[in-house]
């Protein structure tokens, strides 16, 4: 690969860098550079994508070799009429709005607080970022330990405050618990991005605002927020697409229970695919989730376009 690239570049000569792509219809140096990565990516994404579509119209048999039997729209008909499924989507949306919403609010709050701290800000930020690097499955297991009704630290604290139920055992508190575990892990990401945005607002803008008599809330509302609105939008989108990707925390804590209270769509998909081995129906659910994430990706890329960041 390196060799091919070298010769193709040598043939073309040196000073053509800017005009190469437009003049040459052939695969240029850039094309050769992209080829190995993109070919592998194509194999890893387009093949499964086609398989997913095929599966969603089939009954998948696993015993005695993988086999697809076409069943037409059966899986899709089931998908649109499954009442449990609609409840799962509703729960997913509530979970999504609560986690991402809380993370945005708390993350921006933490960033604004840190922004006022001048000395030791880096150490504080470093400590506050730690949860982000923890494996979500470990976060879930740790959450289970902390909320265990007999020896959990947080359950003990709550008992002191007068609440003594089994946190992961009751629908509402279990839902709240998994939301909070997600919030614990991912709020730092929002804080980190927001703080970067705040730090990039030029000092002169803030000084000008101060001279004009703006202060406190006014500076925030009319100077800082407008200046970092794009940054906040990026944070929101990045977090949104990961929020629909991960479900490890729920999988290891409640596994969708109690009484389906935390059964969001990805959990139901896993259950359908790998407990009941109904891979055709799972594929239909997967495609619907994919459509949602592509919508978010589209928004993300369009936003970058507007800001001229995709070059």
């Amino acid at each position: 690969m390196a060799h091919a690239a070298e010769t193709s570049a040598a043939v073309r000569g040196s000073a053509q860098l800017k005009s190469t792509g437009r003049k040459e219809p052939r695969v240029g140096f850039e094309g050769w550079m992209m080829a190995p990565g993109l070919l592998l990516l194509a194999a890893l994404s387009i093949v499964p994508f086609i398989a997913l579509i095929a599966m969603s119209f089939s009954r998948v048999r696993l015993l005695g070799g993988v086999k697809l039997d076409l069943v037409g729209l059966g899986n899709w008909a089931r998908f649109f009429t499954d009442a449990d499924m609609w409840l799962s989507w509703l729960r997913t949306i509530i979970f999504f709005v609560l986690t991402v919403g809380l993370e945005m609010v708390l993350g921006i709050g933490i960033a604004l607080c840190l922004f006022r701290v001048l000395r030791g800000r880096n150490i504080l930020l470093g400590l506050l970022l730690l949860p982000m690097f923890a494996a979500p499955s470990i976060v879930g297991l740790l959450g289970r330990y902390l909320t265990d009704s007999t020896f959990g630290l947080y359950a003990w604290v709550l008992r002191g405050l007068g609440y003594s139920g089994d946190i992961l055992g009751a629908p509402v508190s279990a839902f709240a618990a998994v939301v909070l575990m997600d919030v614990w892990e991912w709020t730092p990401l929002i804080a980190l991005i927001t703080l970067a945005g705040l730090s990039s607002v030029p000092q002169s803008v803030r000084e000008a605002a101060a001279v004009d008599g703006a202060r406190g809330w006014m500076t925030l509302r009319y100077i800082l927020f407008p200046a970092i609105s794009n940054v906040l939008l990026v944070a929101l989108l990045i977090r949104s697409m990961d929020a629909i990707r991960y479900f490890d925390i729920i999988w290891v804590t409640t596994n969708g229970g109690p009484a389906d209270a935390t059964k969001i769509v990805p959990v139901r998909l896993y259950e359908t695919a790998f407990r009941f081995f109904d891979l055709g129906y799972a594929a239909a659910i997967g495609l619907a989730m994919l459509a949602f994430s592509i919508f978010i990706a589209r928004t993300f890329v369009r936003l970058l376009d507007v800001r001229g960041l995709t070059r």
């Binding site: 000073a15 730690l130 494996a135 499955s137 803030r206 001279v211 479900f247």
Partner: protein
């Protein structure tokens, strides 16, 4: 004066509380007696900020510290009805993890191999493709970029289902190569996109002068541009490593006895008969601490990395 500009370093002595003397007359004159409450409120804001930061620190660190502490407790202290804040530390949990029937050693090897190799491959291929993507002027570049990013954002659940079928057909279930390929489904597009963002920061005039100096395109890339993006390479590698190391959703479907990773080992301690929380917190510490150190090592570029290059921090 905006509260954000008051240096919190030296607490203001009480005599200057009214604050008339410290204000420039220009801004002080029109506001008159509004001064005193203002200073009060800036003071209150500072207290509030400190309080909120303390609360945030507690909320963030208590679970982690508790996990670390519990991993050094003996069986009784771990599941004591009243939380034990003082205890005599023991290494029993860690010792038990590495001796006896379910030795953690192989899990660590699987995790290191699967996460490490997938991260290396992702960065290698991602650097090449990212450079190409950053410099190409081909038509349809936007569509290409969009395809790459949407691959990264695809929900894991939607990827796992068809991959499961394909891997089963290819005999890749319960194998390290299978896990590496599975991790590349999210690490490769991430690395391509992020490296492309890092390369785009390097002005292309640098290559032009390298070409004028007689370099080939490859040499210009290898000897001039790549060394300039060393921090980008390291950041991309570490983030890929963290994503793969932390994976649970792929491993729980694709791995078997000869390829199980650390997060799977942790979840296997959860059994019908009970959970050994001492060992579990010990595994948790082993899984979490290296990634935290790695993540903090590239803190300067984290914003760029985690926003896929959309925002460049500091």
């Amino acid at each position: 004066m905006s509260t954000s500009m008051t240096p919190p370093a030296s607490p203001m002595p009480p005599e200057t509380l009214p604050g008339e003397a410290t204000r420039p007359p220009v801004t002080a004159a029109p506001r008159g007696e509004a001064q005193s409450p203002l200073e009060d409120s800036s003071r209150r804001t500072r207290w509030l900020v400190t309080l909120l930061i303390v609360v945030a620190l507690l909320w963030t660190l208590v679970p982690l510290v508790w996990m670390l502490m519990s991993s050094f407790k003996n069986a009784e202290a771990v599941t004591a009805a009243t939380p034990q804040f003082f205890f005599s530390p023991t290494l029993d949990n860690y010792r038990n993890l590495f001796s006896g029937a379910n030795n953690l050693g192989p899990y660590i090897v699987h995790s290191v191999l699967a996460a490490g190799i997938s991260a290396l491959l992702a960065v290698g291929l991602g650097a090449l493709a990212g450079y190409g993507l950053a410099r190409t002027h081909m038509r349809g570049k936007k569509h290409l970029a969009f395809w790459i990013i949407s691959t990264r954002m695809a929900p894991i659940a939607a990827v796992v289902v068809p991959l499961f079928l394909i891997f089963r057909g290819l005999g890749l279930i319960d194998s390290i190569p299978g896990l590496i390929l599975a991790y590349l489904t999210f690490n490769l597009p991430f690395a391509i996109w992020l490296m492309s963002a890092f390369f785009a920061e390097v002005p292309s005039s640098l290559e032009e002068s390298a070409l004028v100096a007689g370099c080939s395109r490859w040499q210009a890339f290898w000897m001039v541009i790549l060394p300039l993006t060393k921090s980008g390479l390291v950041t991309t590698f570490i983030l890929c490593l963290v994503f793969a190391w932390n994976d649970y959703a792929f491993a729980v479907v694709f791995s078997g006895p000869s390829s199980q990773t650390l997060p799977i080992a942790a979840s296997q301690l959860v059994t019908q008969t009970g959970i050994d929380w001492g060992q579990l917190t010990a595994i948790g510490t082993i899984v979490v601490v290296p990634m935290m150190l790695a993540g903090l090592a590239v803190r300067r570029w984290l914003v760029t990395g985690l926003t896929l290059g959309a925002i460049t921090g500091e």
